[in-house]
């Protein structure tokens, strides 16, 4: 499915993500990484769940609020259900062993110039692009 280049929205949204990351560090002293926050909120053996659940609630409510103002939030996932579930399992296992995802490693970690985050980000960007290339251009898509 075609999507168009949206530079204004990309810069505005990216600035908000960055602002959230800086605020999280300034106020809570924490990395604004979705893997860490979600894992700490739902997995056994963690304390201090409440602020994490509050962050998750805010993140889920935000798009709903935007929709409620009549502003569209484009969404399209033309992927079969079995592939979405397989993808979720791989992502879940992967981010736990890799210690983070796009927000934690790709934004916060690289901003700290963490060598682990730079290696992790380079690795997952490369395998994402490769996987997509194989699915779309070698296997002919779903």
């Amino acid at each position: 499915m075609l999507t168009t280049f949206t530079p204004i929205e990309a810069i505005a949204g990216g600035a908000l993500i960055g602002f959230a990351a800086v605020a999280m560090m300034a106020l809570h002293g924490r990395i604004a990484g979705m893997t860490g926050i979600l894992g700490g909120a739902i997995l056994p053996g963690n304390s201090d769940r409440v602020w994490r659940l509050a962050f998750l609630a805010g993140a889920i409510v935000a798009p709903a609020l935007i929709l409620s103002t009549g502003t569209p939030v484009p969404f399209a996932a033309d992927i079969p259900a079995w592939a979405i579930i397989l993808s979720g399992l791989l992502v879940g296992v992967g981010v736990m062993f890799g210690g983070g995802c796009t927000s934690g490693h790709g934004v916060c970690g690289i901003a700290r110039l963490s060598p682990r985050s730079i290696v992790a980000t380079a690795t997952f960007m490369a395998t994402t692009a490769t996987t997509l290339f194989v699915i779309r251009h070698l296997l002919g898509g779903f």
Binding site: E9, T35, W51, A64, A77, I84, T121, T131
Partner: protein, 145 residues
């Protein structure tokens, strides 16, 4: 209480950023990676802007002795580049390339009232749980060896 309210507010800003930037839209995310097909470079600007703001902000914030609402900064201490880091990240990318959802994109996408994000997040939570069990087993074996 202040910690909970500020965390919710930061979550709102994060979720709004994800929604506005297009990171909650799997079709747009996948097109960013489809350089030889229907390439949409938007996400390059999302990442670059988020990174620039965070980089500059961290320079100011981390110079302070402690965050405003906590006694210390909770920064990851590990610096070692090991097999789990690379293998886990590679696996994450394979999953991301299949459906176009990453954790930070999928959680806000739950607020759009679509079925796909619910399926994805449920499976991802299962995968995260599975990984903690696997890690426990692997850790025990290493401890025994």
């Amino acid at each position: 209480m202040l910690r909970i309210l500020t965390a919710a507010a930061i979550g709102l800003v994060f979720g709004a950023g994800i929604a506005i930037s297009g990171m909650a839209n799997p079709a747009k995310v996948l097109n960013f990676f489809d350089i030889f097909g229907t390439w949409d470079p938007s996400l390059l600007l999302v990442m670059a802007t988020a990174l620039a703001v965070t980089f500059a902000g961290y320079r100011v914030v981390l110079r302070r002795p402690a965050p405003v609402l906590d006694l210390k900064f909770h920064l990851p201490g590990t610096r070692e580049i090991d097999v789990p880091l690379v293998a886990g990240s590679a696996l994450f990318g394979i999953g991301w390339g299949i459906a176009g959802f990453c954790p930070g994109g999928a959680i806000p996408a739950l607020g759009l009232g679509e079925v796909a994000p619910v399926l994805f997040v449920a499976a991802m939570a299962g995968g995260m749980y599975l990984a903690t069990i696997l890690r426990g087993l692997l850790g025990r074996r290493q401890a025994l060896a």
